[in-house]
Amino acid sequence: MLKYIIKRVLWMIPTLIGVLIILFCLTYMLPGDPATAMLGPRATPELVAALNTRLHLDESMPVRLGYYLFGVVKGDLGTSVWSGHKVSSLIFTALPHTVLLAICSLGMAAVIGIFMGAFGAVRQNSVISRIVTIVSLVGVAVPDFVAALLLMLLFCVKFPILPAIGAGTEDGITGIAVHLILPATALGIGWVGYLSRLTRESMVEVLDSDYIRTARAFAIPQRLIANVYALKNAIIPTITVIGLGVGKLLGGAVFVEIIFNRPGLGKLIVDAVYARDFPVVQGGILVATIFFVLANLLADISYGFVNPQIQYE
């Protein structure tokens, strides 16, 4: 197990170097002169020359790649072409909004999903079991950005009871919480469906197993069997999927942040794409990718911890 973890972590080094090379190539592939592309057609030759020197754009490709890799290793992600702020500080201000959104939506989805799934498995023909089926269908049918638009239409336009845009940081903790409701729901609804179905399926399987039959034979109350003996084993696959979800949500958060105008990492990246501010695009994607890779790693490792039967090569 330890050997596997070390191997996985070491393998991350060449992978991340590859990621950096791809990010570098993205700006290298920009059609025409990158400085003009970033500054727009009306930039003066002096400005273009200054930017070229500042970003080392006048050097050859390997030298530029070297500068880029060296900078990233030092923790220097460059400076924004437009605002002149350090990219790392821009990301640092944006990241908490995205992390908070991801945690809230996934937390909500996990609590509701596991509860509904477990209940649906115990009472297979109950209303809740039907709701699980419907919600998981809705989760499949309505992608997060469509859900965000529909929620906005319903709760901000038709019945204006919830705030539509912003992160609510100026209103203190209640403001932040109120501004989180719709984005977190939009992002989490698909996961509620997915997690509840997953939990229900594995719970049904576990309830069918020999040790549960034995527990029943010992006349242990049904409620205790379901809540303690069965659920503990049934949520193993769910936990792993939640781990993967953290990484995936960072991608989905892009749309939700744009629609609800939340100043998170996704919005930072997309706004930088619109403005052709490539240092910010590179930095933002790099940070999102690191989160994604770490979440995948943790999910893989946690899988081994909760299920010792898994053998790693």
Binding site: P31, L149, G251, I285
Partner: protein, 300 residues
């Protein structure tokens, strides 16, 4: 090459079925699965809309009728009109075209490239090319997919072809991983050894004997991936980084609906429903595929 092999080793023919045989077998099995038929019907409707858009739409999708803009559903315009007075129903039907093109284009491209590279890696297990391809797959898989697609389109510029290429690029490693793992289990089989003993070229072995035998899990992924591609095309178009307006795409329609969210709910509701329809179609179909191609599930 199959025929020569079957002459040498009678009975081996069935182990290397042709592409078309695999597909038609799969299709027959899907239709038997609950929901699979419904998915197939829904997808057929989408394909029909995509191919026959110019004959079945009541209006030109770009014809403007400023006087009747923001109209609700009615007899003149069944689903209403948008902010330029364009018929929403016609635009939804034309939007099918983009959805189908992107779904089949991106999934086709990424699965062909991914499977080829994956089989190459698996066939040359432990060699330099194998390590290089695993490295390549892992790099691309490290990015959150939609963010990578977004960055590529930002560099290449928004257009239908670029969206397809960007989405294909983000997805091919997943097929590569599946194909590699499958190849590892298939390549030790006797019929591959026999083909090698007959002195067939590695490329022939890869294309004729390995690839047809590893397709089942790949095909299962195709259906679900098409749904994902449709979502992402809409997402990219919604951000203004996909298909260029005035092309009718569900994502662009949602983008316009978002701009005029205060004025008309229909501009969001109908494209949202269209996307939901496509998602249900492809997920029912791919669920059918999964059950149909999994012998264990079929017995249940």
């Amino acid at each position: 090459m199959n025929t020569t092999l079957s002459k040498v080793i009678p009975g081996q023919m069935s182990l290397t079925p042709r592409w078309t045989e695999t597909l038609s077998m799969a299709f027959k099995a899907i239709v038997k699965v609950k929901g699979g038929l419904l998915g197939a019907v829904f997808i057929s409707i989408m394909l029909l809309c995509a191919f026959c858009a110019q004959w079945i739409t009541p209006y030109d999708p770009n014809a403007q009728d400023i006087v009747h803009r923001f109209a609700g559903p009615g007899w003149a315009h069944l689903l209403g009109t948008d902010y330029l007075g364009r018929d929403i129903l016609s635009r939804i039907i034309y939007g099918c075209r983009i959805a189908v093109l992107v779904a089949f284009g991106a999934v086709g491209l990424s699965s062909i490239i991914g499977v080829f590279l994956g089989v190459m890696a698996g066939y040359n297990e432990g060699e330099k090319i194998d390590y290089f391809l695993i490295w390549l797959f892992d790099i691309v898989r490290s990015f959150p997919q939609i963010i990578l697609a977004l960055a590529i389109v930002a560099v290449l510029g928004p257009s239908l072809v670029n969206v397809v290429m960007a989405l294909a690029f983000t997805a091919f490693p997943f097929y590569g991983r599946i194909a590699r793992a499958q190849t590892l289990s298939v390549k030790e089989a006797d019929y591959i050894k026999a083909a090698e003993a007959m002195g067939q070229k590695p490329l022939t072995i890869i294309l004729r004997h390995i690839t047809p035998n590893i397709m089942a899990p790949v095909i299962v992924c195709l259906g679900m991936d098409m749904a994902t591609m449709i979502i992402w095309e809409s997402g990219l178009s919604f951000l203004g980084l996909g298909v260029r307006p005035p092309t009718a795409s569900w994502g662009i329609m949602l983008r316009n609906g978002y701009k005029y969210i205060q004025v008309s709910p229909w501009m969001i509701l109908w494209p949202a429903l269209a996307i939901a329809f496509a998602m249900i179609a492809f997920s029912l179909f791919s669920e059918g595929l999964r059950v149909a191609l999994d012998p264990k599930e079929r017995e249940r």
